[in-house]
């Protein structure tokens, strides 16, 4: 199972190579893998239909319970089969669609990687692994949408998809981890086995919101529905695969998967129905408003996703069955229609509905596929789409549910009926229109997939038992989390659902007839409205503007601002705790000691002069005096080595400073006005005062001088030196000294480096100025 999931990645990496070797047949070569995967997954159909579930697990990060565990039940198997089956044709299709394209290999690589991600997503049992694949689908989708990266619209769409689904993904991560914590397990199979644990947990609402964020963004639910149509900038194979058949259903998959654990509560029902219903209607309306084949299909995909969420939200067994049936149907007819749209585009150079007509004779296979798929989509018998739609109405009309649900479903379905006919029939009938290219039928690869899917729509409608027992039934049972009787059939008598279907067809036909007018009317109505797509732009602008203003406020470029903030923080850190805890200082009147007092006074004076004097020479000298004062403090308190060093260092500092300052023409005026002077002085006093108080507090208690006693005892006897300080430096703590001389050496190197480039720079400048003179 792991191998099956990872194989597409491995093959994907090889795809560019395959392309180089196999040339235009790369699609055929690479399609072998998904085809093999179909066979592989098909072997589980029997056991799963028999009620079994299978688990496969490989350790990943054993210490933290993260494993590559896979779980095959009706739901995941349905998805896995759809992914690999449709994937087979998509790979073929892509090979032909992008024939001769320089980056075909790269494209197929992304596509196969996406396939692997999607398989991993639907098969994962571990929440972390699930999330890993979830994110991978976002990334591969980003790369695929941006495939035509020279177009700004593609880039925008790719980034938009990434931002929306990536953002949702992060929420999902939090939700999944919260769920894992609440349920005490990492495996979904364990977590969902007893849903009450989650539903009764205080974090339930948080988990729900976070998971829904993930699902809704991925499955393009209102108000995140805008990214999906934009993603149609991608080449059609991508649209057909990711944005109709598979990836966008990941959110639906997630909701379906979580249903046993998170579903069944009031908030779950209401939220899903409201968002799903709104998405259904909005998507359908937007579909009708558009005239671009792909966009229309995309919007109906949004609507269908809404319908699926809506059905899962209802949560009753019939609704669940309806959801699974519709999902199954949708994958086939929508995949087919996208490929048809792509072939038409490929063959004519346009996707504008009102420029296309009469292609039926020129593109017979494509037309057949389109017509069959459109019939399934429009929900007419004996196509599987009809069964799915019937079950939708069964679900909404299920005992006791408000009628408004059915009304919503009818509205959506009617709109989709119209779109189905517009897309699946309109281009192929009538007189040939005026298209950029001379229309022609594509190669086998371009129509075989669409035709197969379309025919299967019919097949599964006719043989509903197969779909029921192998696909929809086990999936519904998995979603429902309980045993349920599933029985799909074409004709169940003239009951309420059939009435609803008739109403649907009637309204749909009307809309199809008035298609152009409806589209124009909707355009007038919708286009001026503010929508989340504009909102996205505003969001991006706003976040960057916010970033700029925050950054501009903080990172001003002025060193003294940085210093100011730093010292304010420092002052807060040393002043506040002492203020709150009280200062533990006990002031003692210092003994009168002439030497100490005069030395301190000298240091004081030197420091003060450094601060206030405006002549650089005197300031430097005062610095020297201050340093000497400190040296004398060391001398007075028994630190001759320190005094020695301090004197040397202070003098050399003064010398070097003089050496340098000679070359600086000005001292640099202190521009500070009285206000800033006061402020800066206050900060200085705060920091200095607090540190002094801290020092006094600390020196108020006795110090454990065990270390120094140790040194005193061993300095001569074991280290053969009478000067304890020096013995510490070269023996007891020689490592400090080693680091210290490294600092000295590196300081030398750094200074050399600093000065090495001054000549070069001036040379550069002269070259540059010469260059300016003689352009």
């Amino acid at each position: 199972m792991l191998a099956a999931t990872l194989a597409p990645f491995v093959l994907g990496v090889c795809a560019p190579m395959v392309r180089r070797v196999a040339g235009d047949y790369a699609g055929w070569v690479l399609a072998v893998l998904p085809a093999a995967l179909v066979v592989y997954f098909a072997q589980f159909l029997g056991p799963v239909a028999g009620g079994e579930t299978l688990s496969f697990s490989t350790e990943w990060i054993p210490s933290l319970g993260i494993s590559l565990s896979f779980y095959v039940d009706g739901l995941s198997l349905l998805f896995a089969l759809l992914i690999s089956f449709i994937g087979t044709f998509i790979v073929l299709y892509a090979g032909a669609y992008l024939k001769g394209h320089a980056d075909l290999g790269r494209f197929l690589m992304f596509l196969l990687m996406f396939m692997g991600s999607m398989l991993g997503l639907v098969l994962s049992d571990n929440v972390v692994t699930l999330f890993v694949f979830w994110e991978l689908t976002s990334i591969t989708s980003f790369l695929l949408i941006g495939f035509n990266h020279d177009k700004a619209r593609s880039r925008r769409a790719a980034l938009q998809a990434l931002v929306v689904t990536g953002g949702g993904g992060l929420a999902l991560l939090a939700g999944l981890l919260l769920m894992a914590q609440a349920g005490g397990a990492m495996e979904l199979s364990t977590l969902l086995a007893d849903g009450d644990v989650l539903r009764d947990h205080p974090w339930y609402l948080a988990i729900l919101v976070l998971v829904l964020c993930g699902a809704f963004t991925k499955s393009a639910q209102v108000p995140f529905h805008f990214w999906l149509p934009n993603a149609m900038e991608a080449p059609t194979p991508v649209s057909a695969y990711l944005h109709s058949a598979t990836m966008v259903k990941a959110g639906v998959y997630l909701l379906a998967r979580m249903n046993p654990g998170l579903g069944g509560t009031e908030v779950w029902h209401v939220t899903l129905m409201v968002f799903g219903g709104a998405t259904l209607v909005a998507g359908a309306l937007l579909a009708l408003r558009n005239t671009d084949l792909k966009l229309m299909l995309a919007q109906t995909t949004v609507a269908s996703l809404g319908l699926l969420v809506f059905l899962i939200g209802i949560g009753e067994p019939l609704a669940i069955q309806a959801a699974m049936a519709y999902l199954f149907a949708h994958s086939m007819f929508k995949g087919a229609l996208f490929m048809v749209a792509g072939s038409v585009d490929h063959g004519t150079g346009t996707r504008d509905l009102y420029r296309l007509s009469g292609l039926g004779r020129i593109m017979p296979f494509t037309a057949t596929a389109g017509a069959l798929a459109a019939l399934s989509m429009s929900g007419l018998p004996p196509f599987f789409g009809f069964i799915a739609k019937e079950w939708v109405y069964k679900g909404t009309l299920d005992g006791g549910l408000p009628l408004v649900l059915t009304a919503v479903a009818i509205t959506g379905n009617a709109l989709m009926f119209a779109v189905a006919f517009l897309v699946g029939f309109k281009p192929f009938f009538g007189k040939p229109g005026d298209t950029p290219h001379k229309p022609h039928e594509g190669t086998l690869s371009l129509w075989i997939g669409a035709l197969t899917l379309a025919v299967l729509s019919l097949f599964f409608g006719l043989f509903s038992n197969i779909s029921e027992s192998l696909f929809v039934g086990p999936a519904a049972i998995a979603v429902g989390g309980q045993a349920m009787a599933v029985d799909l059939y074409l004709w169940g008598g003239f009951k309420a659902p059939v009435v609803a279907s008739i109403i649907t067809v009637a309204i749909g036909a009307l809309l199809f007839w008035q298609g152009r007018r409806a589209s124009d009317a909707l355009a007038r109505l919708i286009d001026p409205l503010w929508g989340p797509d504009k909102g996205y732009d505003q969001f991006m602008d706003a976040i960057v503007a916010l970033a700029r203003s925050v950054s501009g406020m903080l990172q001003t470029g002025f060193l003294r601002r940085y210093m100011l903030v730093t010292f304010l923080v420092l002052a807060a850190a040393v002043v506040l705790p002492q203020l709150f805890d009280g200062i533990g200082v006990t002031f003692q009147t210092p003994p009168v000691d002439l030497l100490v007092w005069s030395v301190v006074l000298l240091t004081f004076g030197g420091g003060l002069a450094v601060m206030i004097i405006r002549s650089r020479l005197i300031a430097i000298m005062s610095m020297g005096i201050m340093g000497t004062g400190v040296a004398f403090v060391f001398l007075l308190f028994g630190a001759p080595d320190l005094a020695f060093t301090q004197l040397m260092v202070e003098t050399l500092s003064v010398v070097i400073l003089t050496l340098v300052i000679t070359r600086l023409p000005v001292f640099g005026n202190d521009h500070r006005g009285p206000l800033r002077v006061t402020r800066d002085a206050a900060i200085g006093v705060a920091v200095g005062g607090a540190l002094a108080a801290l020092l006094l507090t600390i020196t108020g208690s006795p110090l454990d001088i065990g270390l120094s006693t140790y040194f005193g005892e061993r300095s001569y006897t074991e280290a053969f030196g009478r000067n304890i300080v020096n013995v510490i430096l070269v023996d007891f703590r020689a490592l400090d000294t080693l680091g210290e001389i490294a600092v000295v050496t590196i300081a030398g190197v750094s200074v050399l480096g600093l000065l090495a480039f001054r000549r070069r720079e001036s040379a550069d400048e002269s070259v540059a100025s010469e260059g300016e003179k003689t352009p």
Binding site: E59, W60, I61, P62, S63, L64, V132, L136, I139, G146, H149, D150, A152, L159, L162, V163, G166, L170, A171, L173, A174, Q181, M540, I543, V544, L546, A547, R548, V550, S551, L554, Q555, L559, Y562, M563, L570, A573, V574, P577, G584, L691, L694, I698, I705, A719, F720, D731, F732, A734, G739, E740, A742, T745, I746, S750, G753, L754, F757, R760, E761
Partner: protein, 522 residues
Amino acid sequence: MSEMAAWLVVWPVAIPLIGAALAITLWGRPHAQSAVGLIATALQLVTSLALLGHVWANGPVAMAMGGWPAPFGIAFAADTLGAGLTVAASAVAMAILVYGLADTGIEHRRAGIVPLLLALMMGVAGAFLTADIFNLYVWFEVTLISSFGLMVLGGRREQLDGAVKYAFLNLLATTLLLIAIALLYGMTGTLSMADLSGKVAALPADAPVETIALLFLVSLGMKAALFPLHFWLPAAYHTPLPTVSAIFAALLTKVGVYSLMRVFMIVFPDGGEIAREAMVWVAVATMVVGALGALAETDIRRVVSYTVISGVGVMVGGLAIGTELALLGTTFYVIHSIVVSAALFMAAGMVARTGGGTRIADLAGLYKGAPFLAVAFLISGLSLAGVPPLAGFWPKVYLVQASLEAGQYAITAGVLVSGFLTLMLVGRIFALVFWREAADGARAMAPASTRGAPPNGGAVLKGALGALAALTFVIGVYAAPVVDMSARAAAELLAPDAYIEAVLASPAQTAAAGADGPEVRR
């Protein structure tokens, strides 16, 4: 524990030290210096791997320098955290040195880039391995002065400008650290972190432990570039040579973070409550400010600089939570960030080289022009954003989990929001710099010849960058070793008994000395 094994703690520091010294002695002979540099970094990597292996098998290992036992002498000690970070640092340094030798001109090598890099590595390894808090300060300074030298190599105007801000602010930071250490010594009378561990806890209630802890937070936080003490980083990281930016981003802030971990887990395991509380909010602010800063920037190197900051927020966030899982996440994040920050700056350097500039508005067309670079950049960037299955994903998972467990929801939010902003950022940069075509208003990718191809050919650059990008991928996919290592490190941080014992008991053979021994002491 055998004496030779204890030497393993020394080699990762001693080797670059000897290498740097030798390289400086060979002043003016850049080729010899380069050879010394390569050999030294390779040896450093080998010895630190051996150290990690030893620590993994036998627990913390320590050596008392000069045979003077801690707390009297200075001890080096490696637990899993120290050894692991040393390995990560030396591995990345190796890649950076290789990159640097190919990327920099002979004049930079003449000016001493090799000894400076080696000295930086010595300082970093020293900081990771020392068990003495004053010695830690010394390694900070070694790192700092080497970074000064590296920062100004080339002497361009913006470098000098950036270096001024960088130098003064960082000098302030290390001075504050020294003040904190001095006051800590004034309270406890000791400098060994193992010894401090007990002595701080035993201080009377009225001792100003809180203030000292805050002082450590301020000084180390400044080194780590925590908000609002991070200014030096965006002011300067984008100005030096790409090689230098890469090693800075990889290592400097991590040393600060590492030291925060050490100080707060060993010296102030209890106490420092105010500092810990502050750390939570500071960490969250750092994540967000860093991510926003990156979004605001128009220069690709500055963008990368800011991402370093938000990463620091994430790491310190984990430390602020302080649970085992959180420390695991932090440790993992440090390792991840070492790799990926270096990779991103290398990539930025190559973008500048091939794209002819660093202004995002001017860059375009590199997806076609430099596909390898594009892939490496994308992998590194996505890893930074925490996208699975790259290395950056795992620490994010653990930190989110840990913060949820601990009820630190602000940190959860911070991690997620900064991750989101980073993802947005990476996607945007990728779209603009790599995907966008020159026609869309940006400058066309100039032919490589006008900018002077790298002296040793681009293959070496690609190799170094590719190695790091591959590393972040491999660590992500094959995460178990790093997770196990981080888990062990976290456990050891929370229960540092073995570390403390190793430090305080390091030399067994100290006492056998005496002035009357005729030839050799000890």
